[in-house]
Every structure is written in C-alpha cells, then in structure tokens.
C-alpha cells in the first residue's frame, strides 16, 4: 500500500521540478523535457535511477526522466552481451513499448480525430 503514496509523492515532485523549470528558468516545454531526459540518462548511468524505481515504483517510471534511464539501461545490457556494437542495437530495447505505442496510437488518433478548439 505504501508504494501508492511514494509513487504519488515522487511523481508529483518530479513534475514540480519541471514546473519550476517552466516558471523560474523560463524554459520552453521542449527544452525542459530534453533536459529531464538527459538528467534521467545521467542518473541511470550513475546507477542512481534503479534504486529510485525500487523505492517509488510508477512515481519514477512514469515521468519522462525514466525514458533517459531506460535508454541507458538498454544500451548497457546489450553492450554487456555483444560489446560496443550493443550500445547501438540496445538503446531502444527497453523503451520500445513507450515509443511504439505513442507513434501507433498517435497516428490512429490523427486518422480518427479532428482538431479541437
């Protein structure tokens, strides 16, 4: 049960960091998202993101920082098996579900929906 609380708290706090980057640093959404992904990748490389996932569950896997971590994780896993080439082949291994789903559902939405407002 505790995991729900930590997921809410950690996920919410990561969003607050994003909001502060919007409001205080006056960054565009694209800049903010790119920075968060790179931060997630760095934390993943340092081995700090996996402990956060164990602690906060979806609070750490749902924010976009998790995307950066997953890219590094896939690359490192594959590199362990096949050497340096593995970095290239493994980079999308873990994140494939998210990217494919977003592209496929997004395109279907474009086929079915009309612009609003």
């Amino acid at each position: 049960m505790e995991i729900y609380f930590w997921a809410f708290l950690v996920g919410g706090l990561i969003c607050v960091i994003g909001q502060l980057m919007f409001d205080l640093a006056k960054l565009t959404p694209a800049h903010t998202m790119s920075i968060l992904v790179v931060v997630g990748a760095i934390l993943g490389g340092l081995g700090l993101y996996e402990p956060l996932i164990d602690f906060a569950g979806a609070g750490a896997t749902v924010p976009i920082t998790s995307f950066g971590n997953a890219l590094v994780k896939g690359a490192l896993q594959e590199a362990e098996n096949t050497g340096l080439v593995g970095i290239l082949t493994g980079i999308f291994e873990v994140t494939s579900a998210g990217i494919s789903a977003a592209i496929i559902f997004g395109f279907i939405a474009a086929l079915l929906a009309k612009p609003k407002g």
């Binding site: 607050v16 976009i64 995307f67 970095i87 977003a102 997004g106």
Partner: protein, 159 residues
C-alpha cells in the same frame, strides 16, 4: 533576453524592453507548482495502480509489468487528447501533464491531429515529432555517450 543581446539595443529599445517586462503578468508559481504536483502525482498513482493490476492478474514480474503500464497510460492519454480533454487539463496542470509519459504521447497525438490538414505524409507523419523529436534525439545521444563511457571503463578492467 540575454545580457549580451540587451547591450546591442538602442536606449529607447532598452527602455521599452524594461517597460514590457514590468507589465508582463506575474506567473502564479506556487499555484502552478501545486497543480503540477497533484496532477503529476495522480498520473503516477494511476500508473502504479495499473502496474499492480498487471502484476497480480497476469504473468508479469516487477520489471516487465512496466511495458503494458506505459502502453495503457499512453492509450488513455491519446484518447483524452483526441476528444480534447487532455489539453484542457494541461492548461492548468502545466508540467503535471507534460512531464509524465502521457505528456510525451499527448505531444505526438496533438501534433499528428493538428497537422492532418496538410496530409497524412507531409503533415501528420512528419510533424508529429515536433516536440517528441527533441526528446528522443537528446535522450538517445546522451544515452549513447553515457553507455560508451561506462562500457569503455568496464572493458578497460574498471568496475
């Protein structure tokens, strides 16, 4: 505007710049952060509920349950985007809807829908990556550099 650019302006332009800055509406930072916290936290809570649902009812483990969870969240986000609800919430929630993976899906779906009048190939097909493109590019380049450094250290016999 950066200080470097500011110096190039004439005194009148500088005066106008300061004036415009003064009249700019103040951003309600605390209110925005509270919205971001609760909406972002709620989306993650929802993710946790979906993840536990997959853990308990299907043969997934802690690691693999993340994939269907993300897919379901993205599906929900795209449906809400299609009916115009997601962007409505996003106006209030700011980063609370942008930072979770649902915001990534929303940026793809809304751009795809917005540009469909330019055709499926030149409009939706290419312009859906307007915002998601930079995220993927910087994520992949950063991941490549980091993985390269780590793998090189390992190959050289480090830890």
């Amino acid at each position: 505007m950066s200080n470097k650019k500011k110096k190039k302006l004439t005194p009148t332009q500088q005066e106008y710049h300061d004036f415009a800055k003064m009249r700019e509406p103040k951003r309600p930072i605390l209110k925005n952060c509270l919205w971001a916290f609760f909406v972002g936290g709620f989306i993650c809570l929802l993710g946790q509920i979906i993840q536990n649902f997959f853990l308990w009812n299907f043969e997934f483990n802690e690691r693999t349950a993340g994939d269907p969870t993300v897919a379901i969240l993205i599906l929900i986000s795209v449906i809400l985007t299609s009916i115009g609800v997601y962007d409505h919430i996003a106006q209030r929630a700011g980063a609370g809807t942008a930072v979770p993976v649902t915001g990534f899906a929303n940026s793809i779906a809304s751009a795809a829908i917005e540009h469909r009048s330019e055709g499926y190939v030149l409009g939706s097909g290419s312009k859906m990556y307007k915002l998601a493109g930079s995220v993927i590019t910087f994520g992949v380049v950063a991941a490549f550099v980091i993985a390269l450094i780590k793998t090189t250290i390992t190959l050289l016999g480090g830890s």
